[in-house]
């Protein structure tokens, strides 16, 4: 039988709710997993989770909007977060930021049209002794220079191959 995308998502959400427990205290766990799998948390997903945990969907939207690693709007497969806090600032994050924008063709807060990269600011990544630092999804890069940006992006692009990605994705979270 043909199943719609929505039905599939619902099944996944039910499985997640059962795995973490159908309590409000499981909400962040579930949202983190949805974010990881789908790069964003859609209104439909919020509604289903609300039903499963027996809370109002607005509550879920409120939680999603609070945390910087959860997004209601679609984000790219690779979210690049450049640390803008003081030590990285002093180590030259402005130049790195500029080069990121140049190489990706987007500014901070945007996602590339192909849905591959999002560019965001992060507050202190805890790499202050090795700034400038950035995160690509969960991977951390330190002592980043404008010159190194191209290589970092290439590394991501090489992981676009279907087979490479399939293995890569499940390993995280």
């Amino acid at each position: 039988m043909l199943r719609t995308k929505g039905e599939r998502l619902r099944d996944e959400l039910v499985a997640m709710a059962d795995k973490y427990g159908r309590d409000r205290s499981s909400l962040l766990n579930i949202l983190q997993e949805v974010q990881h799998r789908y790069y964003s948390i859609s209104e439909y997903a919020m509604q289903v989770i609300a039903d499963l945990l027996d809370i109002h969907p607005v509550e879920i939207h409120s939680v999603v909007s609070f945390y910087s690693f959860l997004n209601a709007r679609p984000r790219g497969e690779f979210v690049i977060r450049l640390c803008r806090t003081i030590s990285c600032d002093m180590a030259g994050k402005d130049q790195v930021a500029r080069q990121l924008e140049n190489d990706l063709g987007i500014t901070f807060g945007e996602t590339t049209p192909d849905g591959k990269f999002s560019l965001e600011w992060a507050n202190c990544l805890g790499m202050c002794d090795q700034g400038p630092a950035l995160l690509v999804n969960q991977r951390v890069y330190t002592h980043v220079t404008p010159e190194k940006i191209h290589g970092i992006l290439q590394e991501c692009r090489q992981r676009f191959g279907v087979h490479a990605m399939a293995g890569q994705k499940e390993k995280h979270i």
Partner: protein
């Protein structure tokens, strides 16, 4: 990928893993508590609350279910020592949590790990699994009847304010990370309404060391009110940034000598929430009774523009404010506007004085530590760097 963080020689590496827990379990819980009490250990996250008192209150608080939470939401700008501890001494942290559980009769432990450190999670899970296999977690730990305790890792989702203990608990409960009014304190009304002790990563590690080596060993160093060593995260304009294991009570001058930052014009102690200490105060001590810190030391060299520093910190607080209370939500943007006026050379003394008093109001009237400390750097820069910030020429 990551260049390992430079560290001084660390006390933690001299401790035999397991020795602290073994010592604790060989005596009744009250003895372990007494040891922590005699050591004078205070919270290493920065607030400096006496650890034994927190545990004692959680222990005395009535309740069947109790929780031990490790605050690994290290988000204070300039702090990275918890990352190093979790990567290199996770066993010691879990051991400290287990000792805490023994003291307060908790059954469940949670490590709240910040989302930015997700890459540390597989390592932590592995260490936890090894501990379960060795019966250092699980049922009847160390063969003690009735001592059942296990630890799970839960992830943050990118929010600085969740490092505040009640906001952290809100987040674990599936809520926005908005701090609660205190009292009630987590020691009686914590996670899911149960008595809960929330301690910093480093605090747990030191607790394990104290049980292993004794209170006197710990007290030998530091000052009377700030006993023991502390890990400092040093970054900024110095030759040797990294993690340093130093006794509390050390002066800023002495610290700068070690890290190669002798020419500094100012040092930020305690991160964005801390204070900016100018050169003529470098004789002051880093200790709870003088300049308290969670361990963040950021060195500003002679050429640094202090207004840029203040602006950076204020942007940080504006971004991370939960928006619940007005002084913090509305105050920080006003202060930033003031900084921008100073940068343009347009701020009158009268306006600056008004902003100064607004900053003091924020310290008094904000609900949680974030808002109360948000104006600190602004105020200390206005106090100490007037020559530098007033009457600037507008940028071309």
């Amino acid at each position: 990928m990551i260049t390992p963080t430079r560290t001084s020689s660390l006390t933690f590496s001299e401790i035999t893993p397991g020795s602290g827990l073994k010592a604790a379990l060989s005596r009744p819980p009250a003895d372990a508590l007494a040891k922590i009490n005699f050591s004078g250990l205070r919270g290493r996250g920065g607030a400096g609350f006496p650890t034994s008192l927190k545990w004692e209150l959680a222990d005395k608080s009535p309740g069947q279910k109790k929780y031990v939470i490790c605050n690994a939401d290290e988000g204070e700008p300039g702090t990275f020592k918890d990352r190093v501890i979790l990567a290199d001494f996770a066993d010691l942290v879990f051991e400290g949590m287990t000792i805490a559980a023994y003291c307060i009769s908790a059954q469940e432990g949670i490590v709240y790990l910040r989302a930015e450190y997700t890459y540390l999670r597989p390592h932590l899970e592995e260490v936890l699994e090894q501990r379960r296999e060795k019966n250092l977690l699980g049922n009847k730990i160390g063969g003690q009847d009735g001592f059942d305790f296990d630890i799970h890792v839960r992830m943050g989702s990118g929010s600085y304010v969740c490092g505040e203990e009640t906001a952290l608990i809100e987040s674990l409960e599936g809520q926005r990370g908005e701090p609660r009014n205190r009292p009630p304190f987590p020691i009686d009304t914590g996670y899911l309404g149960n008595p809960t002790t929330v301690n910093n990563v480093e605090t747990f590690a030191w607790a394990a060391c104290i049980l292993s080596q004794g209170s006197d060993w710990f007290k030998k160093l530091g000052t009377e009110k700030s006993t023991g060593h502390k890990l400092f995260s040093v970054s900024g304009d110095c030759q040797l940034p990294g993690v340093y294991d130093l006794p509390l009570g050390i002066t800023i001058d002495e610290l700068l000598d070690q890290v190669g930052g002798q020419d500094a014009k100012a040092v930020q102690v305690g991160g964005a929430a801390g204070q900016c200490v100018p050169r003529h105060e470098f004789h002051r001590a880093i200790a709870y009774e003088d300049i308290p810190t969670g361990g963040s030391i950021i060195v500003f060299g002679p050429h640094r523009d202090m207004l840029r520093v203040a602006a950076n910190f204020l942007e940080f607080f504006i971004d991370e404010s939960c928006g619940q209370c007005t002084p913090c939500r509305e105050g920080a943007p006003k202060l930033l506007e003031g900084i921008e006026m100073l940068q343009r050379g347009e701020c009158s003394m009268e306006h600056l004085q008004e902003l100064y008093s607004l900053g003091q109001t924020m310290q008094l009237a904000s609900k949680c530590g974030l808002g109360q400390t948000a104006p600190n750097t602004f105020l200390s820069i206005v106090d100490h760097f007037r020559d530098e910030i007033l009457g600037r020429t507008a940028p071309a």
